[in-house]
Symmetry: C2
Subunit: 346 residues, 2 copies
């Protein structure tokens, strides 16, 4: 696409870096002062004007310095992700601390993910997010149906990745624990090892078949099955709003409103993370690259967590596009890596 001279690249990199560290538009003088190019401000000005023409930089107003566009950030992110420069020992230690702290929770993935978001936001001062896998990635393992209080059934569902879900069903008093055991046994033998999306399809077929048969006892049982297997799987966890509000990028009331609405909605973020779940490894979405939610000037960094080959969640950070990408990417990548390691080698 664009062919940038080596010199232009270095200037662009310097501008982005400077703006990330210090939230003021970057002028040509600052570039020469903070980075040694051996060029005068006038020359830098020319280069920066070119970079603006090419869409990497923009000016808030005529007499201000330049700030990166999403494309500028993209260039920056792509160059650091190949270099992988930042890695302070302090942070390795902090992450190790996280590893130890989460060790206790390795049997409860949802709690683990929820705690992880707190660590993520505390480490980065951005919004920590995490989500457990969607129904199409969640494999059914086992179900128990326990009768209690004469007309209620507790459904206890085990997924393959160690999640336990429960709910209560209201049933007639005539259904005995024995009946329930039989239903559970049927579900266990029939569906164990399938994903919940697959199960949903099969059950749907079963029920439509049943329509023609009109056997009320079986149809009741099928209804219990359907209700028993209906759960929300991709649970979303978010923490660190108060961290993020300290950033100068969120000094504007409208931005705060927008963000808090997004957090409360969850729906949109789930959709976005769901789509990103499909990809392997660390992924960075910068500002307008995100076409699903209409969050302006927000970037997202995510990475999946695995247990062996199976994905058990996705963790990440949400912050302003003017984000310390190097650090944030480092934190997300290693957090995901640690969780994967912990779950896999246990």
């Amino acid at each position: 696409m664009h062919k940038l001279s080596e010199r232009s690249k270095r200037v662009l990199y310097a501008v982005v870096q400077s703006y990330i560290n210090y939230p003021d538009p970057v002028g040509s003088r600052v570039v020469t002062k903070r980075y040694s190019f051996g060029l005068s401000p006038a020359t830098i000005r020319n280069i920066m004007a070119d970079l603006e023409d090419m869409g990497f930089l923009t000016q808030p107003h005529t007499s201000a310095g330049r700030i990166p566009t999403d494309l500028g950030y993209r260039f920056y992110v792509d160059s650091i992700s190949t270099k992988g420069d930042v890695s302070s020992n302090v942070e390795v230690e902090i992450l190790q601390g996280l590893y130890n702290r989460l060790q206790v929770l390795k049997n409860n993935i949802e709690l683990l993910l929820s705690e992880t978001t707190k660590s993520l936001s505390a480490l980065s001062h951005y919004l920590g997010v995490a989500m457990s896998p969607a129904p199409d990635l969640t494999v059914f393992s086992k179900i128990n149906l326990l009768k209690y209080q004469s007309d209620k059934v507790a459904v206890v569902l085990f997924t393959d990745d160690g999640r336990i879900k429960n709910k209560t069903l209201q049933v007639g008093p005539e259904i005995s624990q024995k009946d329930l055991n039989r239903i559970a046994q049927y579900l266990n033998s029939e569906f164990s090892g399938l994903t919940f999306d697959e199960i949903r399809v099969r059950l749907f077929n079963e029920i439509s078949k049943d329509k023609t048969r009109c056997d009320t006892l079986i149809s009741r049982a099928l209804n219990i099955c359907r209700e028993a297997l209906y759960f929300t799987f991709n649970e979303l966890f978010v923490s660190g709003l108060s961290e993020v509000l300290e950033l100068p990028d969120f000094a504007d009331l409208n931005k705060i409103r927008e963000l808090s609405r997004a957090i409360e909605d969850k729906h949109m973020i789930i959709k976005l993370l769901d789509k990103l779940s499909e990809t392997e490894g660390l992924k960075v979405i910068i500002g307008s690259e995100n076409t699903i939610t209409n969050l302006k000037d927000i970037s997202l960094i995510v990475s999946p967590c695995k247990e062996g080959d199976r994905q058990v969640g996705i963790v990440g950070l949400i912050g302003p596009t003017r984000m310390n990408y190097a650090k944030a990417m480092y934190i997300v990548e290693n957090t995901a890596r640690f969780i994967t390691k912990m779950l896999t080698e246990k």
Copy 2:
């Protein structure tokens, strides 16, 4: 305490009312214009000066009108709660809608409370809060211990009020499902009907007794018991931050930060609600009356929900001290009443 003339009371009431409706300090002219006292501004001025001396009103600055102090709001709240004036039919209908919508959830109290906070905030434009009862109000009903994946035990706990809690315990492979059944049976026969605080005490005694006996098998079982019964009971639900951010009272960035920190901490709010759980009926805490959290200019309205005689949660609203108390109290009271009704008559 203070003896207020009937006329002063009417003026104070008018000032608070006016300030709640229009977020500007109330001047003597406004009082005479908006409320018909048959008195001139000068007279109102004298009365308002007296009210300021008595601590019911205050001036933001010399040439501004007056705004209520916490004491002023307290007077206002106490007079409306005895009168019970506001009750629009529209809101009755909305609450009825809530009632229908929640009907589906009556088997899952925690989900019900969580959904209730959304309704509360949508209705009031304040922060909806709800909390399930603490361990000293939660009665143990039944426990199931289910072995899975060779070295894991799923603990499924039923409380008296219909909550189901679960967790995973890591145990040695040598413990069989039969052993677990025995342990569960022991717990069920021994502790059913007790609150979790009582159980904690008993188990503690049991374990210290055991120390002297040094029987490893029993001590392992006791450990499983202790872990199996350890859950977080008073879960806190909050929604509506984005609603609250629309209010002029939260135009200040620092206030937003303060509030978002309080919401994320949860700890403090839980402590506060815990204390309030003890009281019956609707309760209003205005600004500095709240000595537990250091939230400034925040009021809280709560009411417990019951199922029969048993408290199953507490619901409420958090808003600025400049709050529409009449409406908010109405909403909280009726929401709590509806939930109580729904759970009791089912």
